[in-house]
């Protein structure tokens, strides 16, 4: 056999192993998630989790997001659009995977804004001005506090509320669930317990529509 042939065969075999391995790995991950889904639904939806849409909707879209993550910001309106296209058929569960430096504090703020009935206003405001308070993947918490008064939040109350240790517990739970489900990047999506394997809007749309 010529030397060139040996190299070509070696490259072909190794690349094949790589892609076969990645297929098998993703498949195993998907099976792991669906096994968890069968055993306990609460890993996907905790009793405190925010749910958008009808509770008994056919499709449950669980999203692990980080308020400081750019892709999460970009996908937020896209999910709204998919939900509008299929009214009452999809419910969107908002979970957190605060991977960015300092974003746990922001998650606490968003969760505490629920106590003032301003959850979506807060989340959407923070997404809108994300580039002002997330710089180089780091959260500038001072800037967050400067942006928040714009939507009529009682800032003093909010500052007190986030000190409640229940929010620390909440974040611990979120991180534990994200880890259990193998979320390593944000946003992480699960549609009826099935993980989105290849990230992208079209892929997410397809996965959701396959469950309708």
């Amino acid at each position: 056999m010529s030397k060139q042939k040996i190299i070509l065969i070696a490259v072909a075999v190794l690349v094949l192993i790589f892609f076969l391995g990645s297929y098998l790995y993703k498949d195993a991950q998907a099976q792991k998630a669906s096994a968890i889904a069968k055993k306990s639904e609460e890993v996907f939806i905790r009793d405190y989790s925010t749910i958008v849409g009808k509770k008994d909707a056919k499709v449950t879209l669980v999203e692990f997001l980080d308020p400081a993550c750019g892709a999460c910001r970009a996908f937020y309106p896209l999910i709204k659009k998919i939900m509008e296209e299929h009214p009452d058929q999809i419910k969107h569960v908002i979970r957190y995977a605060p991977f960015h430096q300092g974003s746990t504090e922001v998650v606490k703020i968003i969760e505490a804004s629920k106590l003032q009935d301003k959850y979506f206003e807060t989340l959407e405001l923070l997404f809108r001005y994300q580039n002002k308070w997330t710089i180089n993947h780091k959260v500038d918490i001072k800037m967050v506090w400067k942006i928040l008064p714009g939507i009529g939040l009682d800032i003093e109350k909010l500052q007190n509320d986030i000190k409640n240790p229940k929010f620390d517990k909440l974040i611990e739970q979120e991180i534990a669930d994200a880890k259990k489900l193998g979320v390593k990047k944000t946003p992480g999506y699960f549609v009826n317990g099935k993980p989105l394997q290849k990230f992208g809007y079209e892929q997410l749309k397809e996965l959701i529509e396959s469950q309708l």
Partner: protein, 145 residues
């Protein structure tokens, strides 16, 4: 085949094995980051920077066999081996992680995988760099004869 031709073939084979290890290490590390989605820490990046070019340096050196390949490969291999050694000592807690925090909150001392209690990702890197280094030293000695 006379003696010198056989020896030439063996030299080529040694370099071929070094290339094979470098490409396995490259694809393996890409598997960890792109498929398993483990974010590489700073030290992992330095080792990647020093390992990935070897695939092409060795490949060019194989066609036709070029003894100059040693000169170009050694800086990458020696530096890579040293970074890998440091990284392993760090993971084994023999030296403490000092002032440099790793990007995006990934500490270099974090262990993603740990097979049989010693086979971590940096250990795999160390093994790869070590074998390549030994093969190159062997090749250098043979060529010096």
């Amino acid at each position: 085949m006379n003696i010198s031709e056989k020896s030439d073939a063996n030299n080529w084979n040694i370099l071929f094995v070094a290339w094979l290890i470098s490409i396995i290490a490259t694809l393996g590390s890409l598997f960890f980051s792109e498929v398993m989605e483990y974010p590489p820490c700073t030290f992992c990046w330095y080792q990647r920077i020093l390992m990935y070019p070897l695939v092409f340096i060795f490949l060019v050196g194989l066609f036709p066999f070029d003894r100059g390949v040693l000169k170009y490969a050694f800086p990458f291999v020696i530096l890579g081996w040293l970074v890998s050694l440091y990284h392993n000592l760090l993971q084994m807690d023999i030296i403490a992680e000092s002032t440099t925090p790793c990007a995006m909150g990934i500490p270099c001392s974090a262990k993603y995988i740990d097979i049989f209690g010693f086979l971590t990702i940096p250990m795999l890197s160390f093994i790869a760099f070590s074998i390549i280094l030994i093969l190159l030293i062997l090749l250098k000695r043979r060529l010096a004869k």
